[in-house]
């Protein structure tokens, strides 16, 4: 809290984040920026990711009554949309959309948390600190994707009747009533991989660590990795699809499928979706 600190580093503190070079292999600030690419054309809507997330992240099963009231705690959900101008039948199938926290670079949820329980980590994640959270739920109000889930009930006391609690993943907590939670890109796995890499004086290799949903996905529809590393698959895909993390309007060829959802709200999501393709002549 010293004034000297303030004066010495003023320009650093005044720099808007993310700034060019914040995520850079050569700079000291951060060598990681986790990102995803999700191909909607090969996502089959099978929900394997959802269940994997339940298993990995200690998500409570809330039961029918509570599901009805909107208390479902699925950090990743599969949405199913019909076409707006559908005839008698949905003749071109349906649209599945796996929706999880988009780990926005300019996350609307982060700025509004009164206690700073949700912040931007150095590796570009939108973190959620359960211990700090007081449950004002402002983040959820401000989340355009509505992917934040609040613990309205004390699930630890009801959701895992013995011995189901033995299944719980000890790498992360179960959340008590009154805190907000959301997809973390399986930060417990990322941190483990990062520390392992650090002890070996290297960076995390591409594919060395993936979130549970990516790992489970039977069609490999989700690609995950460090977008800072130009050799990583996810960075190549973003580049190939001409989607720039820092732009709110992409200048890309119309044949390219990459896009980010609700980009016009300028949250700069870290998840790039790839458009569903339909053979219109079929």
């Amino acid at each position: 809290m010293s004034i000297t600190n303030l004066l010495n580093n003023w320009s650093f503190y005044r720099q808007k984040r993310p700034f060019r070079g914040q995520y850079d292999l050569n700079k000291q600030y951060s060598e990681y920026k986790w990102a995803m690419a999700l191909d909607l054309d090969i996502c089959t809507g099978c929900n394997a990711c959802t269940t994997a997330c339940y298993a990995e992240n200690n998500l409570p099963v809330v039961g029918k009554e509570r599901y009805q009231h909107g208390y479902a705690m699925h950090w990743i959900r599969i949405e199913r949309y019909w076409d707006e101008n559908m005839g008698e039948f949905p003749e071109s199938g349906t649209s599945f959309l796996p929706m999880m926290c988009q780990q926005c670079e300019e996350a609307p949820c982060e700025t509004v948390c009164p206690v700073g329980a949700t912040n931007h980590t150095n590796d570009g994640l939108n973190s959620q600190n359960y211990h700090r959270c007081i449950g004002s739920r402002y983040c959820s109000v401000n989340c355009p994707y509505k992917v934040r889930y609040f613990n309205f009930w004390n699930y630890p006391s009801t959701a895992w009747p013995s011995p189901l609690q033995d299944q719980l993943n000890p790498d992360l907590t179960v959340r008590t009533k009154g805190v907000m939670e959301k997809c973390t890109f399986c930060v417990q796995r990322l941190n483990e991989a990062k520390s392992r890499a650090r002890t070996e004086y290297r960076l995390v290799k591409d594919g060395e660590v993936v979130p549970a949903c990516v790992q489970a996905c039977p069609t490999n529809a989700i690609t995950f990795g460090n977008i800072v590393d130009p050799k990583s698959k996810v960075a190549k895909m973003w580049k190939n699809q001409q989607v720039d993390l820092y732009k709110d309007e992409q200048e890309k060829d119309s044949s390219m499928r990459g896009y980010r959802i609700l980009e016009d709200l300028r949250p700069f999501p870290s998840v790039m979706y790839m458009e569903r393709v339909r053979d219109m002549e079929a």
Partner: protein
Amino acid sequence: MSESGINRRDFLKVLGLGGSSLALTGCGNTDIRSGDEVIMPNVQPEDFVVPGLSVYYASTCRQCGSACGVMGRVREGRVLKMEGNPASRISGGKICGLGQAAVQVQYNPDRLTQPMMKVGSSLQPISWDKAMALLDEKTGPKSGIKGEEFGFLTGAMSGHLNVLTQNYMESLDSRNHYVYEALSPAISLAANRRVYGVDQPRLHFDKAKLIVSFGADFLGTGASPVHFAAEYAKFRKAPRGTLVQIEPKMTMTGGNADRWIAIIPGTEGVFALGIANQLLKHSEFTGTVPADIVDLVSKYDADTVSRITGVRSELVGHVASLLWEKTPSLVISGASVEGHAHGVQNAVAVQLLNQILGNVGKTIDGQAQSPFPQLSPAAGSFSALKAMNEKMGADEFKAVFIHGANPVFTAPSFMGFRDNLRKVPFKVAFVNALDETAEECDLVLPIFTAVEEFGSNVAWYQPEGVEITIQQPLMNQLYPDTRSMGDIMLNLVKARKADEYKAWPDFFSYLKTAIINIKPVVKYTDTDEHFWYDTLSNGVIHVDGAPQQVSAKFAATDLRLPASANAQDPVYPFYLVPSERHYFRDGRHANCGWLQESPDPMTTIVWDSWAEIHPKTAASMGIKEGDWLEIASQNGMLKVKAYVFPGIHPDAISIPLGQGHESLGRYAKGVGVNPFRILNPVFEKDTGELALYGTRVSVRKTGNSEIVVKDEGPVNTQMGRKLVVTLPADVAQLSKEI
């Protein structure tokens, strides 16, 4: 996956220790309570437990019959999560939600933890000693039971447990081993045998440019969904293949189709022949089929087909022209094609297209011949259950064993299975949890779950070569009073053939010996022990073999489809489509919270059953979402909530299977309805299998309604948002993508 940080030597030691110590306790030789063992505090854990460090053990998923190789993440002696085993060609390192739920089966709060015996009308706990004594008394060598008086009902099984079971039946001189699966592929296999001469040809989804799927939900509930999903992903990559799905109710696969066509159930064969008719007009396809078939097909012109199938007439030509344009293609059929009285004919008609298009040998070929036919799976069938039911009804059985099936739940009510079962004097169930069938039994024995058990499996759909997936325990038994099914079977066999099996104190050693015997076939050169440990840590044994050559042959008699498949029925106007949910199947894992809370992909409904009804039909009957409906067939009535769903034929009503348990545990009991109950006795006439889709129902609105619990919000479109964007395939340049 297995970069667990411990060195290889330790890892091997671990596996051995884990296995043998488990087997010892499994046999009851030593016990903590007897004082021969001491309790070790967790601060000084066993060698293979490194606190805070996860270890991955390879095993096999037993949640469905696909036999995916999986890895179990184990920490502090507890299995926490199932992952795919990358060494497995079936799973390819991936896993579905049903497989994930194996840990919920393991830690299920409603697991049966001790043997139960029926006293009066209720089940009371007894000790294993008493239970085994009772078993011996009723079925042992001294009981004098004859082979024909004994029946053994199992689900589909493969590998060495199946071998032991066969040997046991042999030792009893009994032929009454009934392999029953409620949702069996028996009709499909029969059609394949007729056309290709093999049970299951290999399908190359990835090689096809066009897949025309007649009701085959290969992504959700097919022979090997995880494998097919990976193949499908390749199929969708550049050059992107096109998927056409023709079915009465949109399945998950249908939801992914480029063109989805609703059809009256049972008329798929007619549609296929209609397409065949169009195709045969092209000169290049002349001579692909015999002349009598050309004749037979020629009467299926577009208008006739349209009249029978309820599909717009231009679509017949449209699909035909797609097939003509895009080669190679792959035409497959699924449950909704086969589950009719003329199911085999329907399926054969669909396969005819492959023959015309020359797909056989390109996208369809044979599987490799297995060098171990005794390990191959015994496919389940409904006719097995029917045969057993008849014998039970005739009081021919003194004792029956039931393992891996829940016929009281899945048998249609017209069979009277429950009553017939009650006639058997001594019924034994081997279960993880008390299901409807176990509730009826006299002795219920709690066995290990799949993650506590040793075993070997061979899937009936093999992607490449033959993959023997090894099942090893991912943790020690959770409850002291449960036992290994393998050990029980071995002991049962030993009771009759002690000499032949004396070399093996337990199933573990039996399996080990058996697996080591495979060594020469896979040309492994190291020691037996190394082979065993390598196998355990790989989780799979790949036996390479060239695919069998298959060729198709068709007889016109197999293509004579009934003209009245779409006959009007004034009392029961609707076709019942009992749809198979991809995570529920026949309902045996309904007691997992994860599965109950995993939304159905198409309707997003959770924790319930529902009746899908087309908006047009719903409007004409004044039905809105959530209205309670009475769906009645000649054999019963179900009360179920309506869900207005555009992806269904207006004349069809679809109710998902797997729910409606009266037992099984807190998550399943009383949830939804069981459509198995109201099925009519319609049988596939060639195989005698139950025609699952052959039931007609009436629908009545009760006037009550209730909220449908689902993930979907009040609207089901994107309301003008750019959430899922669709790109026309001719604009997309997938080949430029990475």
